[in-house]
Symmetry: C2
């Protein structure tokens, strides 16, 4: 692996373990075995490095989500497709998604939040849009589509953070979808 990629790889691990602010540039370059100008040559700044970590994979993933979340009259079907797409991305890149989800409940005035939220908010919008689009079908949502979207994502993300790396979690995902749509009493 090239230095450019090693830097992203190491930074992703360290940020994930201890948080962006707790990790210094020096520790990253020391771990990789290069010097600081090497890092600054590729990524300009610490924030630039954080941005690069996400842009490596997540823009492609998001495009996939947008396609899967197109509402074609069958809400359950679209929600399933979207859910499995997100779950697959998590499996392919657990560190990246774990770091991403770290920012959902984090402080909103830090520099790093503002960068990461660019991608996080896109995913949230995709989900909200699906719920809103299916308004007609799910008449009983009663104008609380947004609330349902957020609740659904909260459950899904909490679930992925606990079991997202396991090999076979399809069964669990189905039960999550079922639980969300029909509650625990059915």
């Amino acid at each position: 692996m090239e230095n450019k990629d090693k830097l992203i790889d190491v930074a992703l691990t360290l940020f994930n373990d201890r948080g962006y602010q707790s990790v210094g540039i020096q520790e990253i370059v020391d771990t990789v075995g290069v010097s600081k100008p090497t890092l600054y040559h590729y990524y300009n700044s610490k924030l630039g490095l954080l941005k690069a970590i996400f842009e490596q994979h997540i823009l492609g993933d998001i495009k996939r989500y947008e396609e899967d979340a197109i509402y074609n009259g069958d809400f359950t079907y679209s929600l399933q497709k979207l859910t499995f797409a997100i779950s697959n991305s998590y499996k392919n890149n657990p560190r990246l998604y774990h770091l991403l989800f770290t920012y959902i409940l984090s402080s909103k005035d830090s520099e790093d939040y503002k960068v990461v939220n660019l991608y996080l908010s896109k995913i949230y919008n995709i989900v909200v849009n699906l719920f809103v689009a299916s308004k007609v079908q799910n008449g009983n949502m009663n104008n609380r589509e947004e609330q349902f979207s957020y609740s659904y994502l909260a459950m899904l993300i909490d679930y992925l953070n606990r079991h997202g790396e396991e090999m076979n979690n399809d069964q669990f995902l189905y039960s999550l979808l079922h639980q969300f749509q029909f509650g625990i009493n059915s």
Copy 2:
């Protein structure tokens, strides 16, 4: 307000806005208008300050949760009482609870996480215990009580972070409880 309390108040605000690691001791004491030895006289270390922020109120709150979460044969009733207790605490101390919930999805190897998790895990345990105790009543939980507890807390906390400071959110809380137990399709 005494310096001792001012320090906690200012630190709580700053930690909440930008995160524990992003805020320096100097900024805290400057904002309060005292010098560093004053802070270190009361709280020994930056982590000690963080700990003190939580111990000020949350230990009492947790005692309340433990009482409310006693399962007396009526799961819905206990879950309602516990939910409203948590919601009330959030209303009384939004900054404290927002900061607390910040750590749910955060990196797990940072010093500050380890401190805050002392309190966070207690709340989680209370909820899980309630779900497990009601196993007999809710036979259809099918040994997924833990999963349900986590999902429930994920939804509740996401909800509180969005609407927890509003004056009258009882209606919303009831709908959250209903949604969780009976799904969105009822």
